[in-house]
Symmetry: C2
Subunit: 112 residues, 2 copies
DNA sequence: TTTCGTTATTTCCGTAAGGAAATAACGCCA
DNA sequence: TGGCGTTATTTCCTTACGGAAATAACGAAA
């Protein structure tokens, strides 16, 4: 009978539009580590196009940009996660922590 | 700054496969009301193919079929939601009720 | 045995999403 | 001023998804 589980998905919306999800937050972290969108995309095994679009819409929705991009210059440029970006990462991860607790308790209810 | 909300999605898995979600439960209800897959699909504004596939995989995953289908006969046949199907509907709706409470409380946290 | 309306199944097609790749733009630095 | 490596943007193509529709199967009832 068993092997029944609960699936769930959480994200944050801004003005009704998709703003922060699991993939985007991981991308932000990868950018923080590498200092580059293209390198982050490679780590995420994601096309540069998708990575760039994700970051572009995130930046557009946020009150302050989550990352600062630099084109040209030493090393060709790069991308840095801003203070606002760090806040966004933290905000999402808190949500996920709380949701994990909820889903686990709900799963136990199922087992009964 | 505001207009920031939490989005969420919940479903029930069986053996790691998608079993019950919002659409499927609504479909079950529509079948219960109409006694027919095709009529239910029409109400749901869903193709018959998708409705049939949904119901078929649900039935295959469940220990007992959620609906009983009859081909041919009086009126051409029809489909009836079983007792097991009623339980499934109830199970999912309880999950949704609890999740709604959680998401609302989490949204209030955001506002702070 | 014919009719009927449903379930069951297949085939075909349009559309949308996303990836790959080519190319432009950029600005520091040697 | 040319090289470099990144960001920025466009173009093209493939693939997957799902819908529409055609058709078969079915069994009760007249």
């Amino acid at each position: 009978m068993q092997d029944i589980t609960i699936g769930s998905k959480f994200w944050i919306e801004k003005n009704g539009q998709f703003f922060l999800g699991k993939g985007r937050v991981e991308l932000l972290k990868a950018v923080r580590e590498t200092g580059s969108i293209s390198a982050a995309a490679k780590i995420m095994n994601m096309s540069y196009k998708k990575a760039w679009e994700s970051i572009d819409t995130m930046n557009a929705l946020a009150d302050q940009p989550l990352v600062e991009r630099k084109t040209g210059g030493k090393g060709g440029g790069g991308t840095v996660v801003t203070e606002e970006g760090e806040k966004a990462i933290q905000l999402y991860e808190e949500l996920i922590q709380n949701s994990t607790v909820f889903v686990e308790s709900e799963t136990e209810m199922l087992a009964q």
